[in-house]
């Protein structure tokens, strides 16, 4: 049997570490946005990062992407230190968010070429691969139309492909499927699986609780702290819930910083 097909997260003993946090903390004045979080994400893992709005997800993600300095604690991303090697981190990760991903007034090809160029992919390689990429996404006919006119689902798939274009070791996905229809959402997750299989580590946030089940492991943040970190199956077992929605509800209900 083809070993590639059987996508399993590597066992902790043998795995390479993609992301590691120890006691990572971010304070804004008296407010502790992220409170001593610790976890380890292995290479090729699909790591779900959940939490109520205001729980500190975005702040944590920013620190890991090299966009802001932690107040205390340690973290390495792709082996680089978040304090001293932010530029290195940025070279080796991909990032995609629901809010900003692509330029609406450029075509898919122009977007790929731009972001490829920004990440320092060689001109020749961009030329060779960009057309293949557009074709594999089924965007041949749209290759020269503006991205703004594409359906949301296609945009998000293209954005993901663009985030992977420079062959990053880790991609950070911030609510990549918000508002996307159920069919396209699943196609999107197929792409995520495929990327993980090829050796990319996926760090993803989502509002769809059924999607958290597609992750190898899930953390749930509440009030800046990590309240749970395990496989979806174990979490459901531990909290005696049928689905992740229930698990999340049980944990987030007590939050003081949540939306309610």
């Amino acid at each position: 049997m083809d070993p590639v097909i059987n996508h399993q997260p590597p066992s902790p003993a043998t795995a390479e570490t993609a992301i590691e946090c120890r006691e990572l903390t971010k304070k804004f004045g008296d407010f502790i946005a992220v409170d001593r979080i610790s976890f380890r994400v292995q290479r090729c893992e699909i790591f779900g990062f959940l939490g109520a709005n205001g729980a500190g997800k975005t702040t944590a993600m920013r620190m890991l992407c090299g966009l802001s300095y932690p107040s205390s604690g340690h973290a390495t991303v792709a082996g680089f230190d978040v304090y001293r090697q932010q530029e290195k981190i940025k070279q080796h990760i991909g990032y995609m968010s629901q809010k900003f991903s692509l330029y609406d007034d450029l075509t898919p090809l122009e977007n790929i070429k731009f972001f490829g160029g920004v990440y320092g992919v060689a001109e020749k390689e961009i030329r060779e691969r960009s057309h293949d990429l557009v074709r594999s996404l089924g965007l041949d006919r749209e290759a020269n139309k503006l991205v703004g006119g594409l359906p949301l689902g296609w945009k998000q798939k293209l954005a993901f492909a663009v985030a992977l274009f420079h062959r990053p070791r880790i991609v950070f996905l911030d609510e990549p499927t918000g508002g996307v229809d159920p069919v396209t959402r699943r196609q999107f997750w197929d792409m995520i699986y495929e990327a993980a299989e090829k050796g990319v580590t996926i760090f993803v946030t989502t509002h769809y609780m059924d999607e958290s089940e597609y992750c190898n492991r899930v953390t749930i943040m509440v009030d800046g702290k990590i309240e749970a970190l395990d496989t979806p199956a174990n979490l459901k077992h531990r909290f005696a819930c049928d689905n992740m929605d229930e698990v999340f509800y049980r944990l987030a209900r007590t939050a003081r910083r949540s939306d309610s």
């Binding site: 059987n6 996508h7 109520a52 229809d181 699943r186 196609q187 089940e213 949540s258 939306d259």
Partner: protein, 329 residues
Amino acid sequence: MKRNNVYTHPDAVSADTPIIADRISKSYNKGTVPALSDVSLEVKKGELFGLIGPDGAGKTTLFRILTTLLLADSGQARVSGYDVVQNFKQIRRTVGYMPGKFSLYQDLTVQENLTFFATLFGTSVAAHYELIKDIYEQIKPFSDRRAGKLSGGMKQKLALCCALIHKPEVLFLDEPTTGVDVVSRREFWEMLQQLKQQGITILVSTPYMEEAVRCDRIALIQNGRILQVDTPARIAGAFPVKLYAAKAASIYGLLKDLRAWNQVESCYAFGEWLHVTLRQDTGNGTALIREYAETRAHKQVIIQCIAPTIEDRFIQLATSNALPNGSGH
């Protein structure tokens, strides 16, 4: 506008059907971007009706047409018995509307927002306080806080209070739970149940399929077309074939294998399971799938025949309608 008196008095049909949309079509940019095609639906008095579909399905367009903010290209619609074009002024007086974003004045306090909208609708906060009491008491401790400083869930509650302040007969809520976390979403649906008890007719839209079950009836909408209108149970029950849930140690491996198998009609991830339908189901699907999975060396294989959900039905309708996935092309 007084020219058309016929419409100013709700007739018998309208009295128990506050929302009627009849073959509504709408396109943007001079007809090049279709938004709604031939949409018809009726919402009965006191009903909690859900419009379920992804972004870009046409939900907001339909809401705007029904709230008199947008003119349809063709078709007719009535709200509370009033024609949305001719009697738009009456409608604007009788409906409550919460647009997609929490449309509040971020620089006004909770109290100021509420007072402003109350006065705008020619009423006072005290007049229908009973209606919003349960919701408002949750945000009352923050009544002097600026709306912009509230959390998403609190904004959502304030926006709902503002939409209810004049005791509308019909309430339009356009994606009230989008971008709000699970806990607040649940609370919000509980609030809607309570409002329903007060006899208010509610049309609510959402992209979250799992919220559909909380409605009395729903319409599934995709690419500007209504796929089906019915009760959530009947929509899920209308799934035409048997649905199997499968799982194995390697779920992605199983997904790929099943998709490669010519017996499989569809296979997609669904939470921790894969949902599978077969091309020709002779009744022994469970055994058949298990057998195949095991020949492909899968371990810990579990196969069950399950009751379809609304999302299953949506996927089935969306893909069988010969529409390319997630697009209008």
